[in-house]
Symmetry: C2
């Protein structure tokens, strides 16, 4: 039996939203080194086709594999919903998506009552949350609702108190509430930033499930199960790579990570598609 594994955890997302998953990982795993890739040149994935999202996801994983990670976390609901099985089948290391952990927790909390899922168009169309929940509880009743304005609202920097934010949240959630759900899954990594506005709109009778939080819990479980936690004692590092606009990533990132985003490197398309990591490591 080994004494842990100091290799990094690779995390990727279509853009910046996955930093909410990183935030949860760092809370639970302060000694892990994390390498994050945000595909900001091709963001968003949520309105794109299955073929395109699958190809992007394979390329994102190929990039992360250059850093020799012990695990890859797909901190993107769209990719988790559409391409996870394919990635699991081809990757040489364990991979964790955000859909299954959120779905499992929702079923536990719902105790047989209706569960609502809000997410991007692509995630909802994939039906992935419903399929995952039915695996755990075949009689689960599920309401699904795409909320395409939530991501641009968050990226524009609007807060939960903003009048437009509140109006949009009610516009999406009021019709759902008439169907009396007891659990609401935040099925997009941007949505935790709207949590207080969402909680206010649905009231105290509805439990919110943050898929990112549940994913971090699953990562801890899996690393512990394989005895591959980083034994420490040094604090873990966070190294970010983006395919576009590192400055915007830094500026916006702090809200998602709840901490300044310090180490961000731009990866050119040539660097991204070739296999020479030496040209970008700093």
């Amino acid at each position: 039996m080994s004494n842990g594994d100091e290799r990094c955890i690779g995390v990727f997302d279509s853009g910046i939203g996955g930093l909410t998953v990183v935030r949860e990982l760092r809370r639970r795993l302060p000694h892990e080194n994390i390498v994050y890739f945000g595909d900001t040149a091709r963001v968003p994935y949520g309105i794109k086709s299955v073929q395109t999202v699958s190809r992007f996801a394979r390329e994102d994983c190929d990039f992360l594999l250059r850093f020799d990670p012990k695990m890859i976390v797909v901190a993107c609901n769209t990719v988790s919903a559409i391409a996870l099985t394919e990635l699991e089948d081809t990757l040489p290391i364990p991979i964790v998506g955000v859909v299954d952990p959120g779905a499992r927790q929702a079923v536990l909390l719902a105790e047989g009552h209706t569960i609502a899922v809000i997410a991007t168009e692509a995630t909802i169309s994939s039906d992935a949350y419903r399929k995952a929940m039915i695996k755990y509880q075949p009689t689960t009743r599920v309401i699904q609702k795409p909320c395409p304005l939530f991501v641009p609202l968050v990226e524009e920097g609007r807060r939960c108190e903003d009048a437009i934010t509140r109006a949009v949240v009610h516009d999406y959630l009021d019709p759902i509430m008439r169907l009396d759900p007891r659990v609401l899954i935040l099925g997009c990594t941007h949505y935790p930033l709207l949590k207080s506005a969402i909680a206010e709109a649905v009231g105290p009778g509805v439990k919110l499930v943050d898929s990112g939080e549940q994913t971090a819990a699953t990562v801890v479980e899996k690393l512990r199960g394989r005895n591959t936690l980083n034994p420490g004692p040094d604090p873990g590092t966070l190294t970010c790579y983006v395919s576009d606009n590192p400055q915007r990533f830094k500026e916006l990132g702090q809200r998602f990570l709840d901490h300044p985003v310090v180490d961000v490197t731009w990866v050119s398309q040539e660097q991204f598609l070739t296999h020479d990591v030496s040209t970008i490591s700093v």
Copy 2:
């Protein structure tokens, strides 16, 4: 002197918005054949960096050049704002962007009064409209305002009468109106779909300039000046290529084109980046 030119006009945009420019082109030039490319796999351009947008634009033009066009229309404000000069310097045929025609018309209509520009983040940051207007009238006073929620509102299918649309329009435009502009440039090809909501918010004292309309007028001028109009008599065709999601393009496209979008072909990344047009022509 030749008797016109039957070759097509190439038009490209980051996605679907450029169809509002195509709509104006078809109104004025019913005999022209148009080949449209929408880069729906990488949309939106409006939040991406200058380098990335420039690279995408060169690739989009390379793709259109395979169809032997007599002119290329950049039906994308972001590309027109950021990369037009570079494209003009490298392309073997005339190229028309959407910024300059809109800017020229705005200066004419303003008669010395303040002009407001609304557009994507990238277009506003580029300062392209202000620079273009100052070229025509150095003393022009310009107010600029990014409206990042307008594109997702339109793409979600929300109409001008929708309560959220109206709230967002007022949220962006009310602060501008306090500065008393007399002309407002719709500096994004999606914005004409919000025209009636915008007109209602700014009132009858403000003239709206639709850059797409002005661009079509400029195309007519240039083709006529070179004696390269299509002499007819057949009605022109519209052939669309997209890098992702042809079905979504068809469904949404009708609202932008004011006509059903019939002929849409998906171009895979391999087809897009190689130079073999035979594999995609149908």
